[in-house]
């Protein structure tokens, strides 16, 4: 005697958020049943294991049928197959597109290609996120990437409209897409201490300041690529380190402002030239795609690490960078104020975010 067929279909599609999460997390039906039993749901309605199994199967089937729609969430709202209340739709989409920070950290900046997909089982073992869940997340990244790649206009807004995601999630996806598109290196050991949220913040800064869309929304190109013109202009900043007078002038201005305000003044004074060279060289090299990829590792190597070895506190760092940026404005011979601000604004906030243990 066996149950050959067992279905339950509601006019309003019944979905249990807990089961949905288990499904998203890639649990098999049997594992999900176990988890639910441990969760004590059985006591709620005098349910037995069979009941739980049947319910879990039903829900899994429903989710599988919904998955197709979730791939283009806009369809979910005007499809006719499932009657799902709007707030539920939002929940379904939001959860479907949610990802594990540990997983995304692994693929951040990698090419969203078949090759990467093949490595997913390694990532799965490493992050202890189930392979199924890894695949879903990876496919989500890829899908979002493919859609917005071709679109004009602001990246975050495009993602939000096409995938009906919350602002926060849309921003995260924008970061992922942006990183994938520019192939920023995030996997090096030196960068391991940075979380996805650190990178997402930086990406947000880059998107809103360094892309074409940042200056002109009407422009044909979109948010995913850095503003080439701007990158060219960055070369002009080199004058700050190549012109000896300017460098000294800059240093003295910064040191005057910092004197007495920090415990690490000596170290700051001592490493000024090195740090300034580091930051400006990063700027000057950004025309090379290769160096764009290394942007974050460069920031860490050229700036963050030296400061850290000198035991600067985060406040010291802020103080230093603020004065470093502002002092350049007082330099008479330095004409590239606009580019300087656009560059330093982003670098400053990125370093602030990245300067932690």
């Amino acid at each position: 005697m066996s149950v050959e067929l067992d279905v339950f279909v509601g006019n309003t599609t019944i979905m249990d958020e807990e089961v949905y999460q288990l499904w998203l997390d890639g649990y098999t039906v049997n594992d999900a049943v176990k988890v639910r039993m441990e969760g004590g749901v059985m006591d709620e309605c005098e349910a037995s294991k069979d009941v739980l199994l049947s319910d879990t199967m039903d829900q899994y089937r429903t989710f599988q049928m919904c998955e197709r729609l979730l791939h283009s969430p806009a369809k979910l709202a005007n499809q006719l197959l499932f009657q799902i209340p709007p707030h539920r739709q939002i929940m379904l989409i939001e959860r479907y597109y949610a990802f594990d920070d540990t997983f995304v950290r692994e693929v951040l900046g990698k090419k969203l290609s078949k090759g990467t997909k093949k490595d997913l089982d390694d990532i799965s073992t490493k992050t202890s996120v189930t392979l199924k869940s890894c695949r879903r997340q990876f496919d989500n990244f890829k899908r979002v990437f493919k859609v917005v790649e071709e679109l004009k206009g602001p990246l975050v807004e495009n993602i939000r409209q096409h995938f009906l995601l919350s602002d926060k999630l849309a921003r995260d996806y924008a970061a992922i897409v942006f990183f994938a598109n520019n192939r920023f290196e995030t996997g090096k050991r030196k960068l391991q201490y940075l979380s996805f949220q650190d990178f997402a913040f930086c990406a947000g800064q880059l998107i809103s300041n360094w892309t074409v869309g940042a200056v002109d929304n009407m422009v044909e190109d979109m948010d995913v690529d850095l503003d080439k013109e701007f990158l060219q202009e960055l070369k002009e900043l080199k004058i700050l380190i190549t012109d000896k007078d300017l460098l000294d002038q800059h240093k003295s201005l910064v040191c005057t402002a910092l004197r007495g305000k920090t415990k690490v003044f000596i170290e700051m004074e001592g490493s000024f030239k090195n740090l300034s060279r580091g930051l400006i060289n990063i700027a000057a090299k950004l025309t090379n795609t290769k160096d764009v990829r290394d942007f974050f590792i460069d920031l860490v190597e050229k700036f963050i690490e030296p400061c850290r070895s000198d035991r600067w506190s985060a406040a010291d760092m802020k103080l230093y960078l603020t004065h470093y940026t502002n002092s350049a404005h007082i330099l008479d011979t330095f004409k590239h104020q606009v580019v300087w601000d656009r560059y330093m604004g982003v670098v400053k906030s990125c370093i602030f975010k990245m300067y932690h243990d």
């Binding site: 050959e4 509601g10 319910d55 499932f82």
Partner: protein, 1135 residues
């Protein structure tokens, strides 16, 4: 040229990719109606094409408009090869043919393919321009409204109820035609879908014609079913109740319909007047002209009701004098002999006159239809306006086993119905047809009803179960007496015995009063005086197929009660098989019945509503499933307990027995608590007090209500809860007492265990299978309709009946448990209209399909009563003024009564010999004397004996008292005063409840337009239906050749059911509606062949598309004017 149909194809979306190379589709659309086809342009390379076509116009007969669906096919254009079909949409344009319903169909429809399911959507606009047609010979019946709802639809008033309408059409099943061997599954499925769509259109049109002819304008409780008879064809049949409905609106409207029909249906003119006579339709003996009809009819009831019973008596009286049916409905104890005698005279002559004029007119009009309609005083309605239902007799049912023959289909090949218009035309040579089969069954039902002293059958339904060439036809209903005031005269057999019916019974117990003569009861019954009004007799248990009348007084909550049964049978062919089945049926019915009775007692309830017994036949087994909603009617006596008895008094296992007994007693106590059954003690004196006297008096004084203790025997009687004393009694031969359970073998132990297996629903849940949940009325807005299908494969080859029963019971119980679990977020909630359907699709498969709705309610107020209708004060006064002789006939009440369910089984095969043989059984079984066969002879409740005694005593004393004082009137007045007080009390919380539910429904105002709610009930809580847009009746086939890829059988069926829901919702939305009420899934036939990776499923659903508005919106209009309600609601609808 009576109509112009216009269709416009606007756009498509989410189309599937048809061209792999480009990942796009070049879609175009064919629009077909009848034999005319139009095409749109090809919209190249788009998955979201915008056609924005011109208006395609079809000029057609309205007959075609009714029969044909608009067929829209979406195709992918292919330059080199044949165009590929993407899918189809069938649009039933019937809703556009009523003046008041939808005016346009416009919206997104899922594009459906029988192999791939839903593939995108298409936006279509359809309109109809109808021209008036005054042709008296017209074949169409445009304008007749159809409702699946089995009560008078919310925004209508029934001015007249005309009665039963039925029709069936037959055709060959395309799946079994030779051509099916060479065409694709898709073509075959589509041919089937189209054919069934056509057939149901035709069926509906024909029923509409009958309604017009009767002078009605609507069919309520329309029930359409398919019989897939395989090789022998396809039958589409429908029954319904013809009514004249008035839209509740600003006063002017009411008569438009009646004015209209002489024009629209001239034939009805002639039919109208014969209907006036009505009292004595076909059966009267003085019909010299038409000797045909009366004979077969009279023959049936008389022969099937043996002499000792009353039913035969009225029949004979009827034939000996041209009396009215006055006598047919035996007095219920109130009908005073004297006055009846006086009044009978003039009435009789009047009637005779009418009969004669009617006869003359009938001669003139050739309409046999009307005869037919009046012949069966059946009503498919299950709930009635207050005052409509006077008394309820009990369940009547009939089953018959038939062998299917190939339906004779003439060369014309077209759908043809074998409608027998007149009994005159029936001759022995006429081929046996489906019509004749149903005719027989209905006759039987009718005679059963008569045997119960009733002139009508309400809550009537018909069903079939087919396995190979054997078919079980079943019909059941509730025998009742209706108030003729609401009927079109003539649709009931009963004379218009006005004096009788005007004597009002209290609305909240009147329907319980027995309709039959207590001196000549149709079956042994145990009667008591009504616990509510104390004036009339009531049975101890009442079984009905209808909904609990809203005015009925109940104690506590109701609950779903199911009896489940499996019976193995040997595999056989042809007649042997049919015989085997028909031999099993009575036993199954008996057992189902016993189970129901026991379970009812176990829950301490005394009445069943919505009883539906389904017997399903498979190759090697029969499945029986009886579902009903149990309730405690305060008008009926309290049920007794259940007593367990060993084989012999001194049985060794007495310890075992007492432990079981304890469990049972505990269960009863728990259930009482659970369902909050605390019957009011308005009249019933505390049994504790009277216990002592009871026992003495019961045996000597009152004329013991139980048979004399003759032999010492093994049966023990349990008494009322208050009395532990046991007395030993013998019941007459073979009449097993329902509540005494004997343990004589292991089977019996099993049975008892299975009784106790039924787990009560978890806290926060209630369940019922009726429209209204007894004891709960304060619904909040949460509604979740669902369908669940479970198929069990029996792997064990050597199963016993007991084993099977266990499996089957578990299957049903587990389904319920699953529902409770899934819907736990809705607590507190009630599963309403739980409709279980069982089938045996293959030898070792059991399929159970359930459709129900879960509704949330406000827990705070569950205690309050649900009396919907304020008590009519006028009737109370009238009541007071009437005097009735007191008949203290305790003797009569001592006879045994059981529920009035009558079951007969008959077998009709082409073989005349067998036929006769079986008919005999049917006859004897039909009346219920044959004790060993007929379940009805079964159970007697002695459990409440002491209880009853106490109340009799009390009553006797009361009466004696009043008589002594010589003032019957006084006592009566006090009673009715008490009554009115109680009813007033009941009224007030209602107001509160209503306003509260209104408030709670507020939350649901802001829902999006596209949301379509579905419910099997006739209402949606918190809302008011302002418009009925037409009937939804859809038939779909889905097939797959890649079962595994679609997620196996469960995945396949899951998506199919979801698709069906989606298509229903889309059609409703396109009509402008936002809900489907009275939704039901009539058919869900699932076949699989996992080895071939194939499966096929057929689903038929129906319901009423409606617009409903949140009650808060129309509260103001409702409160300002009671009469002009619709004036308000119409404006609401417009906004």
């Amino acid at each position: 040229m009576p109509g112009k149909l216009k269709a416009k194809i606007v756009a498509g979306r989410h189309l599937p990719v048809m061209d792999r190379a480009s990942d796009l589709t070049d879609a175009f659309v064919e629009v077909k109606f009848g034999n005319t086809t139009f095409k749109t342009d090809v919209c190249p390379k788009s998955l979201n094409p915008q056609w924005n076509s011109e208006w395609f116009k079809f000029e057609v007969d309205d007959e075609d408009l009714q029969d044909e669906p608009l067929q829209i096919t979406v195709l992918d254009h292919d330059t080199y090869s044949a165009n590929d079909a993407i899918g189809k949409v069938y649009i039933d344009i019937d809703p556009l043919l009523y003046s008041e319903a939808a005016s346009v169909i416009s919206g997104w429809f899922p594009i459906y393919d029988t192999i791939h399911g839903i593939r995108g959507e298409i936006n279509v606009i359809v309109k109809v321009e109808l021209f008036n047609d005054l042709n008296r010979f017209r074949q169409s019946s445009c304008g007749v409204k159809f409702f699946c709802t089995t009560c008078i639809p919310q925004c209508y008033r029934a001015t007249l109820v005309h009665g039963f309408v039925e029709e069936l059409v037959v055709n060959e099943d395309p799946e079994y035609q030779w051509i099916d061997r060479i065409r694709t599954p898709r073509a075959s499925n589509e041919a089937r879908q189209r054919l069934i769509s056509l057939m149901s259109g035709e069926l509906q049109r024909k029923i509409g014609l009958k309604v017009l002819e009767m002078g009605g304008n609507a069919v309520v409780g329309y029930l359409q079913c398919f019989d897939l008879e395989g090789e022998s064809g396809l039958v589409v049949r429908a029954i319904g109740t013809a009514c004249t409905l008035d839209k509740l609106s600003s006063g002017s409207a009411p008569n438009t319909n009646t004015h209209m029909h002489p024009n629209t249906a001239p034939a009805s003119n002639a039919c109208n007047s014969p209907s006036k006579d009505g009292k004595e339709p076909v059966f009267v003996e003085d019909l010299p002209s038409s000797s045909g009809p009366p004979t077969p009819f009279r023959a049936l009831p008389t022969s099937s009701s043996p002499p000792p019973f009353s039913p035969s008596k009225p029949c004979s009286r009827q034939s000996s004098s041209s009396d009215t049916d006055l006598s047919l409905t035996p007095k219920t104890g109130m009908g005073s002999g004297g006055s009846a005698g006086k009044e009978a005279g003039p009435l009789r002559t009047l009637l005779r006159q009418q009969t004669q004029t009617a006869l003359e007119q009938r001669g003139a009009s050739s309409s046999g239809l009307l005869l037919n309609a009046r012949e069966f005083p059946f009503f498919t309605l299950t709930s009635f306006p207050p005052g409509f239902l006077l008394h309820v007799g009990g369940v009547v049912s009939a089953r018959s086993v038939k062998l299917l023959d190939r339906i004779h289909n003439p060369a014309l090949g077209n759908t043809r119905s074998y409608k027998l218009l007149d009994w005159n035309s029936v001759t022995a040579d006429e081929p046996e047809t489906r019509d004749a089969w149903w005719e027989e069954i209905r006759q039987e039902i009718k005679s059963h009803a008569r045997a119960l002293g009733c002139h009508a059958v309400v809550g009537y339904s018909e069903s079939t179960s087919i396995c190979e060439e054997v078919c079980i036809l079943s019909a059941s209903g509730t025998a009742a007496i209706l108030n003729p005031r609401y009927m079109r005269e003539g649709c009931l057999d009963i004379g218009c015995t006005d004096h009788r019916f005007e004597e009002p019974s209290p609305p909240n117990c009147g329907f319980c009063h027995i309709p039959y003569d207590e001196l000549n009861m149709p079956f042994p019954a145990q009667l008591t005086y009504c616990y509510h009004c104390r004036r009339q007799k009531v049975p101890d248990v009442l079984f009905t197929t209808i909904d609990l009348p809203s005015e009925a007084a109940v104690a506590g909550k109701g609950c779903l009660i199911q009896a489940r049964l499996c019976r193995l049978k040997k595999k056989a062919q042809g007649e042997a098989n049919a015989t085997a089945i028909s031999n099993l049926l009575p036993f199954m019915e008996y057992e189902l019945h016993t189970q129901l009775m026991n379970k009812l007692k176990l829950r301490s309830m005394n009445a069943l509503f919505g009883l539906h017994i389904q017997i399903s036949v498979g190759e090697n087994m029969l499945l029986g499933l009886a579902s009903a909603t149990g309730v405690y009617l305060t008008a009926l006596p309290a049920p007794g307990g259940i007593q367990i008895a060993g084989k012999t008094p001194g049985d060794l296992s007495s310890e075992h027995i007492s432990s079981i007994q304890k469990r049972i007693n505990d269960t009863i106590a728990v259930n009482k608590e659970l369902y909050q059954i605390n019957p009011p003690k308005l009249f019933a004196l505390d049994p504790e007090v009277f216990c002592g006297i009871n026992m003495e008096l019961a045996e000597e004084g009152v004329g013991s209500p139980i048979p004399e203790p003759r032999h010492r025997s093994r049966l023990f009687r349990s008494h009322s809860e208050s009395s532990d004393e046991l007395s030993e009694l013998d019941l007459s031969h073979g009449k097993k007492d329902a509540f005494v359970l004997e343990i004589d073998d292991t089977d019996a132990v099993e049975d008892i265990h299975s009784l106790l297996i039924d787990a009560p629903p978890p806290t926060g849940f209630y369940s019922c299978n009726t429209e209204n949940m007894p004891g709960i009325s304060n619904w909040t807005s949460g509604v979740q309709m669902f369908t669940s299908v479970r198929v069990l494969r029996l792997s064990n080859a050597n199963l016993t009946n007991q084993g099977l029963n266990k499996i089957f019971t578990d299957l049903c119980e587990n389904l319920l448990k699953s529902f409770y679990f899934k819907l736990r977020s809705m607590i507190p909630c009630c599963l309403c209209h739980l409709n279980f359907t069982v089938a045996v699709p293959e030898e070792e498969l059991i399929q159970v399909t359930v459709t129900a709705v879960a509704m949330t309610y406000d827990k705070e107020q569950t205690q309050e009563k649900t009396a919907e209708k304020p008590v009519n004060k006028g009737s109370l006064e009238a009541e007071e003024q009437l005097q009735f002789p007191l008949e203290l006939c305790a003797d009569s009440s001592s006879s045994n009564i059981q529920t009035a369910s009558k079951i007969s089984v008959s077998l009709f095969t082409p073989a005349a010999k067998l036929c006769q043989n079986q008919l005999l059984i049917a006859r004897s079984a039909g009346v219920g004397e044959s004790t060993n066969m007929s379940p009805r002879a079964a159970s007697v409740d002695y459990g409440s004996f002491a209880d009853r005694c106490s109340t009799w005593l009390e009553l006797l004393r009361l009466k004696a008292h009043t008589i002594r004082r010589g003032s019957v009137k006084t006592s009566r007045r006090t009673q009715s005063l008490a009554h009115s007080v109680s009813s007033l009390e009941r009224c007030s919380p209602l107001q509160e409840g209503r306003s509260r539910s209104l408030r709670s429904s507020r939350s649901f105002g802001g829902s999006s337009v596209t949301v379509v709610k579905m419910t099997p009930l006739s209402f949606l809580p918190g809302t008011r239906i302002i418009k009925y847009l037409g009937i939804i009746n859809m038939f779909f086939i889905r097939e797959t050749t890649s079962l595994r890829e679609e997620g196996g059988v469960s995945g396949f069926l899951h998506s199919f059911i979801a698709e069906v829901f989606a298509m229903v919702r889309a059609h409703v939305a396109a009509l402008g509606g936002n809900a489907v009420v009275s939704y039901s899934m009539k058919e869900c036939v699932f076949m699989e062949n996992p080895n071939k990776n194939q499966a096929q499923c057929l689903i038929n659903v129906s319901g009423d598309a409606v617009i409903c508005i949140s009650e808060t919106d129309q509260e103001s209009s409702a409160s300002t004017a009671n009469t002009g309600q619709t004036g308000g609601s119409e404006t609401d609808g417009a906004t």
